[in-house]
Symmetry: C2
Subunit: 283 residues, 2 copies
Amino acid sequence: MTTSALTKVSEQRCFGGKQIRFKHQSAVTNCEMQFSVFLPPQAETEKVPALYWLSGLTCTDENFSAKAGAQRVAAELGIALIMPDTSPRGDDVPDDENGAYDFGLGAGFYVNATEQPYAKHYQMYDYIVSELPALIEAELPVTDRRAISGHSMGGHGALVIGLRNPDRYVSISAFSPICNPLNSPWGIKAFNGYLGDDQSQWIHYDASVLLAKTQKAKPILVDQGTSDNFYPQQLRTETLITAAEQSGAKAQIRLQDRYDHSYYFIASFIEQHLRFHAKYLAN
Amino acid sequence: MTTSALTKVSEQRCFGGKQIRFKHQSAVTNCEMQFSVFLPPQAETEKVPALYWLSGLTCTDENFSAKAGAQRVAAELGIALIMPDTSPRGDDVPDDENGAYDFGLGAGFYVNATEQPYAKHYQMYDYIVSELPALIEAELPVTDRRAISGHSMGGHGALVIGLRNPDRYVSISAFSPICNPLNSPWGIKAFNGYLGDDQSQWIHYDASVLLAKTQKAKPILVDQGTSDNFYPQQLRTETLITAAEQSGAKAQIRLQDRYDHSYYFIASFIEQHLRFHAKYLAN
């Protein structure tokens, strides 16, 4: 593998495939970024489609790779898993002024920041939508057939990015997503900080607003645990359900009895999400 | 559930079952111990058999529960997973004098220490063999049909405990076990510290010595990755293979091409280990 722009940090065998961590200099976030990739055994001999996974608050590229148990099914189905970080990183990257967990480092919210001092580095929307796939598809045995999923803040990211780019993603899923950040304490804090107080800019990053008005949403699968500490106040799943009904989109939004916000929940249902995406990635 | 001796720390739904963390005061290790349990859905209506999992150096009861992906298959097969800690803990418990990772806290080596200042608390052999199962079988819907497995230091523990107690465990497995601690730097340091310099006491805790001389070993399955940084010097798998040949035991000891020492290796093969144990737990 010739990887001029990518530096391999580690590689470990997993379910007959490869779990690899890379770092690279990002021209979009203006810092060094890390991401993880799982390449299934099929990638030894052919290019494979990819599921992009966006993680939640406080996570890095390693939470999903270590805890979700997704590689088993990805190896069976021949799907690469692409696991980016949740924010820019490094000494030059400004954090929340109080070091809070829900803004700044580990909390990029998958937006393009317009406010200072964040705008220089916090360009996670463009990083995920454009720079990272271009890099991966140029340097790894991965095709441009993409699906997108994520958890919590990353579920918000997956829904927003998938809904805004129906030509780039064949299917969308989410676990415990922040469905309506315009009306969620997490979302209001993040959008004020990254985007400023003009709420007309916020609606481009609100999954419920986007879904309600789209005519061409790709298939959507959402799982939400009923024992999730952040449900419903931060996550506002019901707003997304209403938006789905308004749009007529092909959306399954399921409440899962007594599951919480953790990776034990994700692990329990990730196989169903992978098989959902595989149907569309194969076409 | 009435749990007079057990205090529930947390409970999370997982694959239709329950991932639970308990703490309790141990009369054997003379401190408060934590352990984790996965109860499969079947345990709602009947008692289920159990696989005891012993973790490796630096681990707690949480590594296997978060990273191995074992709950999926345990839920299917109706097996409880019992995940103890790797040492006594607490302010009163002496650690390695230099705080090393391979002795003291997180490194109990599943022995009954005879040396001071360790003997008062480091009684992990008796804790795993006797106190913990008695507590679990009295207070949880778990039968006394037990299998045992583990990783690295915990693979050593599983082999030693299983081989010394064939009446208490129906089957034994291990990932990357320390097979011959008498001749391993990790084992020599631990046994000197916990057991003193009389090597006649060490042989009771050496899986290769025990296996070579037993006539009644239960079925054994061992997986060892060939790209494991600790193989062969610390782990000495070949010594166990020779011992198995000498004993005529029903032992499968497999080298797995290019796998390393990590949980990505364990996750890749845990399903095979669970199905191996299930055959014997069902009888």
